[in-house]
Symmetry: C3
Subunit: 265 residues, 3 copies
């Protein structure tokens, strides 16, 4: 399995898919850099006048509600609708699900448009599935992962999306399958937008890999392994961000194979 | 005094306060990273539909007018009003005060909502207090600090805010008290948004420390000391930004005590 | 020629021109940092209420359509109009020209306002000149440079703008003159917004240098040489961004002279 994952990483590097992002202001720069580092070509655009054409040009879409407002919500909905019309995949990052009613109303509309993948921490997954989640605290993962797994299964069955629950262990859930990626480092939670970067990288992988579980697993493993390696030399969150972008760009098969820790259930 | 400052730094790390930011596009990423590095949890949101709930969730607010427009000004006003209604503190960074009439009109409204703290360079403080300031040049500090201190006293007496005048020496003014923090390094002015980061860190400290002068002093000293240490190894503004985030995260009591230079007047 | 280029670099450092940017969300932070690193003072503002005053305060303007929408397009048009009224220079970066009709309609309006300089990759230049360009792929340069040179000549003759075609070799075209800058490194294309940073730096140089070809050549050479030196120590795009900002700030005459590779045709 690890070999086929590496092959998928190489495939993204070789094909350099165009990925359209409707994402939040905080992470646009490091998300675009993460996409470039793994070999993809990022586009960020939100004008209602051009969304349809941008979706037409791109091979996958990333929707992240971090700094949503009325205009941007419409951009997100149009992006998802056009992606559906063109049968192109999109990944949803429901940042802050459960924190406000506006986020939850917006997410209800977006999830009804059937994202190909949803990537979120445990408390966001619980909120999305309308489980009685403890109140979201920022973007931290506070809820129990066992409950979140049940919520993820419900989301997968109801909306068809492959679910990735981020956390110390990242858990990928799709149609009875469960893959656990045990890479990463806790220092990654001290850099803003690394979760959003992981979501965008999933966008790059679903752009070129038909098997959604394989695509999400490869993207998640790449981010986790690179973060783990970067954290070894990092002296804090500043150097971690820099070293992570370097590693996403220059990681070799040998390094990747040496670090990856997968479990299939 | 230095010991109680360190205790306050530890308190922020331990309590990890949620801080809501309505700030400018240029600095969102490095401001969020600065908040994470000192141990706080940043939220950035501006949609009118969710401001009230976000203020309800958070323990302090940061308002920064750097890239203001009509929609965002309303977000800022609502944030300040709701903070007042819930008796929660907020800090104002009046970026570019005096540069345009629109900024000055907006600031008149925001200041009337009685910010807990105002942090700005000397020329912005002069403009806020309607002193005859030399025209603001970007975000640089050009005005004489003696005049700015008089202006700060007027602002403190009129609006009750604790004032922090940033500059080579940072001066904190509140009810007859004056604290001077003589840390920092001039290279910090060559990295965009370090002033905005300092303001956000003040937000994290007023979230958990009742004594406003103590909170602003701790936040200002932490930023100044970390910037000073980071500048010793920096080869330019790129490495300074990285090293500063690392140092905000990993500074020890010993390092802090060795560098801090305070004066109480 | 190289000596006069260095003198122009020193002039920007000494005069620290105020540069007003109406640019895209993705690159605001690293663009502001690039301007600070070369010695300029960046302002970023877009509110319709203050554009006129900001243009009045600044010595040159930068317009970059990367994440355009209705509000921002109006900000860009007003910036260009006011710059013309005050006879101040502005540089245009037509990000994604040819990718959507909305971009092309917007660019038709902006180009009619006669930018002082246009900086873009080959496919964007072809699209701007309404040549039959291959479809823009992100911000990469895919079109043949010979065709792009013809298109640039047409743009120069029709609108009077000095044109800078970015690529492996950067080509500057103005009234029969052609200058080629053969610096830079391909790793620079893996960092988001370095093209936008180069455009902003051109803004800083046209703010203080009357001879437009000389200004654009100096800015382009500075970016290329610094990127080339930074790439030697970079281990990937993360460290390249950091090292580039350091080098823009600390490059010496000796280093610059040792690396610059110009050709005048």
């Amino acid at each position: 399995m690890a070999t086929s994952i590496w092959n998928n990483i190489v495939l993204v590097r070789k094909t350099s898919p165009l990925v359209h992002n409707v994402t939040n202001y905080v992470v646009m720069n490091n998300t675009a850099n993460a996409l470039l580092a793994v070999g993809a070509s990022p586009i960020m655009a939100h004008a209602h006048q051009e969304i349809d054409e941008m979706v037409g040009l791109c091979e996958a879409m990333v929707i992240n509600i971090g700094t949503l407002d009325e205009y941007w919500v419409q951009s997100m909905l149009t992006t998802a609708e056009k992606a559906n019309a063109l049968k192109k995949p999109f990944v949803l990052d429901p940042v802050g699900a459960g924190a406000t009613h506006y986020r939850d109303r917006t997410l209800a509309k977006l999830i009804a448009l059937r994202p190909t993948v949803i990537r979120a921490n445990a408390s966001e997954i619980l909120a999305l599935a309308k489980f009685n989640a403890t109140k979201t605290k920022g973007v931290d993962s506070t809820a129990q992962s066992t409950e979140a797994i049940e919520a993820a299964k419900v989301l997968n069955q109801t909306f068809g999306a492959t679910i990735c629950i981020s956390g110390e262990t990242d858990i990928i859930i799709s149609k009875g399958q469960q893959v656990r990626v045990k890479n990463g480092n806790s220092l990654m939670t001290k850099v803003t937008g690394l979760g959003c970067s992981a979501t965008a990288i999933i966008g790059a992988f679903i752009a070129v890999i038909e098997d959604r579980t394989a695509a999400v697993t490869a993207a998640t493993a790449l981010m986790g392994v690179c973060g783990e390696i970067a954290a070894k030399s990092a002296k804090g969150p500043g150097s971690l961000q820099m070293l992570l972008l370097d590693k996403l760009y220059n990681i070799t098969e040998e390094e990747f194979m040496h670090h990856i820790q997968l479990e299939k259930i």
